[in-house]
Symmetry: C2
């Protein structure tokens, strides 16, 4: 991988530093910039050009050294770059693809960071063709914005790339190198497999968290309930504090994958309600869930920095 990338780099304009364009300078875009610009021995690192529709976010990204230069618009950023990262909300991605398509340099590749991939990849196929590969860093926070950006946000995190049959090998290779450069571990999966997986392990947890808040905090007795709410309620409800617009976009673009999970969870809760008087069945379920969850945690702890 390193050899290929070295060849890529020398293939750019006479040995100049590679240029990465980051379009959208929120938590993810800003953190990508900060991660790319961390000092690395013997490697000057890329030049990072950024743009955000919110001028203040762009200024703040410059101030925080998340980018080296602010572009005039998305097309201007893309026109200068060997690698373009589109880090805007899902529903804004399509328009950005259309804006940057005519400006792309020959050989440049484009990736995105959206939480759903099938629709995004279909949009990209229409405007960007083979230059695109979908991406999704499995890192974030319920607190968004450039001020929350951190250079270590992706360290040890899983970063999913979603190549398709039509994706050229060199695009996958260069995107892989980009992911490693920001500190993350690559996992590859088709766009639809990705969307089924995140519906289960990301969108369903968010919706369970939101349902918990919705049913308990709307109760007339909430003021009494609240006094006894402790870390369990806080942790399970945490995702409900996430960005409503981002989660809206996720639900709209991944509804077909999410819906069956909501119904399965509803059936599971009904089964639990019917089972509460059967102590043995309840105990067995809780023991199996603990066993599975502990195994997940142990395996995850070995693979990444995501341990507790």
């Amino acid at each position: 991988m390193k050899d290929t990338t070295a060849a890529d780099r020398s293939a750019t304009d006479g040995g100049r530093a590679p240029v990465v364009a980051i379009i959208g300078l929120g938590l993810i875009g800003g953190s990508l910039g900060l991660a790319l610009k961390r000092p690395t021995p013997g490697d000057a690192g890329p030049m990072v050009v950024g743009w955000d529709q919110d001028r203040r976010a762009g200024d703040r990204a410059l101030q925080r050294d998340a980018i080296d230069a602010l572009a005039a618009d998305a097309a201007d950023a893309a026109a200068r770059a060997d690698a373009v990262v589109v880090a805007v909300p899902v529903l804004a991605v399509r328009e950005i693809f259309e804006q940057i398509a005519p400006a792309l340099r020959p050989g440049a590749f484009v990736t995105d960071v959206a939480s759903t991939k099938a629709e995004v990849c279909a949009w990209a196929a229409a405007s960007l063709g083979n230059a695109f590969i979908g991406g999704h860093p499995m890192a974030g926070s319920e607190r968004g914005g450039i001020d929350q950006a951190r250079s270590d946000l992706f360290d040890g995190a899983t970063y999913c790339l979603t190549p398709e049959l039509s994706t050229p090998a060199h695009v996958l290779q260069r995107a892989t190198r980009f992911v490693q450069d920001v500190g993350a571990r690559v996992v590859t999966m088709s766009p639809t497999a990705h969307d089924r997986a995140v519906a289960a392990v990301s969108h369903l947890p968010f919706l369970l968290s939101t349902s918990l808040v919705d049913v308990t905090m709307s109760d007339p007795e909430w003021e009494a309930f609240r006094m006894l709410a402790a870390t369990g309620f806080r942790d399970v409800s945490r995702l409900a504090s996430g960005d409503p617009r981002m989660h809206h976009d996720i639900c709209v673009t991944n509804a077909d994958a999410i819906r069956p999970w909501l119904l399965r969870a509803a059936r599971s809760l009904e089964a639990l309600a019917a089972m509460l008087d059967d102590g043995d069945a309840v105990l067995q379920l809780f023991e199996r869930a603990k066993h599975d969850r502990d195994a997940f945690l142990e395996e995850t702890g070995r693979l990444s920095n995501m341990g507790e």
Copy 2:
């Protein structure tokens, strides 16, 4: 409150240090002992006598200085004490009450730490009469046992006491002082109000967490899903790693309060599934949930050390 307690203390055998008996030396019992035995300027603190059916837990509690002395059995511990804390699993509480009832010193009071209160208080009324007041510290961890015990487990935590109409004022006062001595904040509530509240803010979150693990990790595609599971899945699934036996006991003793919450959550998930194509409704729900949860967190952060 302090005056009353000072009077209480001098009322014990000629000014000897008050004796607290802790029956059950797991995470909660052990942490109560460690908290009581923290050095306090100008106050020698109580003598703590402990007992656990597992001899190793008792030895470990002595080793860790969570107790000053190990009793021969539950009745022996109670016979020496001015205050008796029963910190065993819910379904073991009743038998302990019956064992200690004949041994209690005149004027001694008994409290427990079980997660459900209506059944426990009914058992206590039968065997301990007016000497009892229910208690429930809203602190804990999914990792139990004396080795996990911490002197600061209750610092700033809410500690619910559940007096009834028949509870003498001096029992409530002395239990309140006990709670303050371990670093917690007292909230009082009737046993049934307590059980409704914890069904909503503690048992429902646990069951949502368990359902999440149950439906996702049993899926044939789990190995692919797992690769994309990040902090969101980890946090919402955390409670599923809790002690199955403890949660079994909770469900069995609080089934009637829990069942309606499971059904409300199931209805909420079904409504969400039906609503996914209606972007405006989805956005409104997410915005309201974020607003409510952020407000909860802010208020909680002001009131205790439970901030994020």
